[in-house]
């Protein structure tokens, strides 16, 4: 890959005007399609309901009315629950996923097949898994609780972290573990004291990615905990009432939801690419 990039940057091989223009247009399109909805939400969050009824106009009489309504309702509670679900999902995901990833990477557990098969659960659409999970949750009396949501989120997060970390562990020199064995460490101390410090960047990226997946997840949460244990996406979807969509408060709530996500993505994007690369190339 670096070789390709190298030829591109080589002097004398300047891209033609057409190619360069095309490239910029493509980037502009991509950026626009991501930014416009975000900007629109940011805009709408501070407009009055009256202004919002006329989507064509850009008049703004800045108001905190929407924010106030959001603060009064269930959004703060839902945020707290989402934070709890995200946090617990991430912690369990990290513990199970990193150990599984280490096992697959070092001991070839499950062979080459498992390395890739581990991602299969993430291919199954939530619509397929949601109702069996609901039936199960009802049976063991955890429906409409955060436990059910956490369990459902783990079906996505554990395979994802396992796969992600497998690549990171492959990059840790085996000699370091052999050195640790000579120095007198057992397998668990070797894992925690010697191996884990070498994959901290990957672990950090995994944590953020897992948290974001859980934080944004709507479908499982909606099916498994529609009542008192609503998470943030479920609570926001409730602004879509039978009286119509309450655009203002919904935009305000969305703004509050995406802000931490944008903030986090900013930090992890570099590591994320690194991790994906590590996992893919060394298969």
């Amino acid at each position: 890959m670096s070789g390709l990039r190298h030829t591109k940057d080589a002097p004398g091989a300047k891209p033609t005007l057409i190619a360069e223009t095309g490239r910029l247009l493509l980037i502009l399109f991509a950026v626009t399609s991501v930014l416009v909805p975000l900007l629109w939400i940011g805009f709408a969050a501070f407009r009055t309901p009256m202004d919002l009824t006329n989507p064509g106009s850009f008049t703004i009489n800045p108001t905190l009315e929407n924010m106030r309504e959001v603060a009064k309702g269930d959004i703060p509670g839902a945020s707290y629950r989402s934070f709890l679900v995200g946090g617990i999902t991430t912690i369990i995901g990290l513990v199970v996923g990193s150990m599984a990833g280490y096992s697959i990477s070092r001991f070839k557990t499950g062979g080459v097949a498992l390395r890739f098969a581990i991602l299969f659960p993430t291919i199954i659409p939530p619509t397929v898994l949601a109702f069996p999970l609901l039936a199960l949750a009802l049976q063991i009396n955890i429906s409409d609780s955060l436990f059910a949501v956490i369990a459902a989120h783990l079906t996505i997060v554990v395979p994802m972290i396992t796969w992600f970390m497998t690549g990171f562990f492959a990059g840790v020199p085996r000699e370091i573990e052999e050195q640790a064995a000579i120095d007198g460490l057992g397998p668990f101390r070797t894992f925690f004291q010697v191996v884990i410090p070498n994959v901290l960047p990957g672990l950090g990226a995994s944590a953020l990615l897992a948290f974001m997946l859980s934080w944004n997840e709507l479908f499982y949460a909606l099916v498994l905990a529609p009542g008192d244990s609503q998470t943030l996406p479920v609570a926001i979807s409730a602004f879509n009432t039978f009286q119509g969509v309450k655009l203002g408060p919904m935009s305000a709530a969305l703004l509050l939801t995406v802000t931490p996500v944008i903030f986090l993505s900013f930090f992890i994007q570099k590591r994320l690419v690194q991790g994906l690369g590590a996992s893919g190339v060394k298969g």
């Binding site: 000699e175 064995a181 000579i182």
Partner: protein, 356 residues
């Protein structure tokens, strides 16, 4: 302090035999070098001593203790890896102290011993750095210091200098030898570089295809190799090997005649002569033959002279005085030092020893 003994050791990887029934002993306090090409089994032998590799059959002893089934941490060894295997997240101080900390040594004692070892290895000023902030040579010093700190009874080195540049290798070579001599700890050093082996070893084990071809002092390997493999593997430039038919004190090879001397074996043989044992002589002298100078590589006090005898190339090393005004494309007379000729069987390379 302890000797190291291999007793009929075999190591199989599936159907591949990495170590084929090898026995040897490295006496207490010696610096032994295992030298061989890649894939010869030399690293596997070293890792077996360290317990990083389990063996398929046979026994390994450190001192009088059978360690065949003993875990690495209980073998009382220290291992220095080719890629240093430093703990990247720890400072130099913590890296060196790690083996002590892992064994629950009191903190004050750790601090004292780390300081002491760091001084010996010239690392006092670098103790608070992380490995990534050090040069390759410094990283290897840290790895060696970490090996020293526990005062083990055996040091094992796996090609520890192959990632360093030439000058640094020479420096570090001296330092390691001095440390080893002052500590008197039995050491095993693996390398593919025969020059490094000759320079460092009290004893050299020449390994090829999973067996030890010869286990002897550098002087003995050089002057008295047991077969043509060892003769070719030790010494640079390589020993010249002339395969031909010997009769009446003349070796005939590819239509060329090479004068031998009374007592030489008759029949199909391989004659081996080291480059430094070929000398220029005045023409017509008994035992001499003609050669054309193809290439002269001046190395200062000596020169490597590439000679053509018929279609055959022979390497010779002439001293500056011998070289005189010999230059490329000259035809000169040379002779082989009689008492330095070695003979081998052409089929298996075994040495043919002369009677008397």
């Amino acid at each position: 302090m302890a000797s190291i003994t291999f007793d009929n050791v075999v190591k199989n990887y599936g159907t591949f035999q990495a170590i084929r029934n090898v026995s040897f002993e490295i006496p207490d306090g010696e610096f032994a070098v295992i030298v061989g090409p890649s894939g010869s089994g030399k690293t596997t032998m070293l890792r077996s001593i360290g317990g990083l590799e389990s063996i398929s059959s046979g026994r390994i002893l450190i001192g009088d203790r059978d360690v065949t089934n003993v875990a690495p941490k209980h073998r009382d060894i220290a291992f220095v890896f080719q890629n240093y295997a430093l703990y990247a997240h720890l400072t130099v101080r913590a890296n060196i102290g790690f083996p002590l900390k892992a064994r629950k040594t009191p903190k004050a004692e750790i601090a004292e011993r780390v300081e002491d070892v760091a001084r010996r290895a010239g690392l006092e000023k670098l103790l608070d750095r992380k490995p990534a902030e050090l040069s390759g040579g410094q990283q290897q010093r840290v790895a060696i210091a970490r090996a020293l700190v526990r005062q083990p009874s055996v040091f094992l080195f796996d090609e520890p200098m192959s990632n360093l540049d030439a000058q640094l290798r020479l420096d570090l070579r001296h330092e390691v030898l001095e440390l080893q001599q002052s500590l008197g700890v039995t050491s095993v050093w693996v390398t593919h570089d025969q020059e490094e082996a000759m320079a460092m070893g009290d004893r050299i084990l020449v390994v090829n295809h999973g067996i030890v071809e010869q286990n002897a002092s550098p002087e003995n390997l050089y002057s008295d190799p047991v077969n043509s493999y060892v003769a070719g593997a030790i010494g640079s430039p390589r020993m010249n090997m002339i395969q031909g038919h010997s009769a009446n004190q003349v070796l005939t090879a590819d239509g060329q005649n090479y004068p031998l001397f009374p007592g030489c074996p008759d029949g199909n043989i391989v004659a081996g002569i080291r480059p430094e044992d070929i000398h220029p002589v005045e023409s017509g002298r008994e035992g001499s033959f003609q050669a054309k100078v193809q290439l002269v590589e001046l190395l200062g006090a000596r020169a490597i002279v590439s000679l053509a005898v018929g279609d055959r190339r022979l390497n010779a090393v002439f001293s500056r005085r011998e070289l005189g005004d010999i230059k490329e494309l000259d035809t000169i007379s040379v002779s082989m030092a009689k008492d330095r000729l070695l003979f081998f069987k052409p089929d298996n390379g075994e040495r043919i020893r002369l009677a008397g």
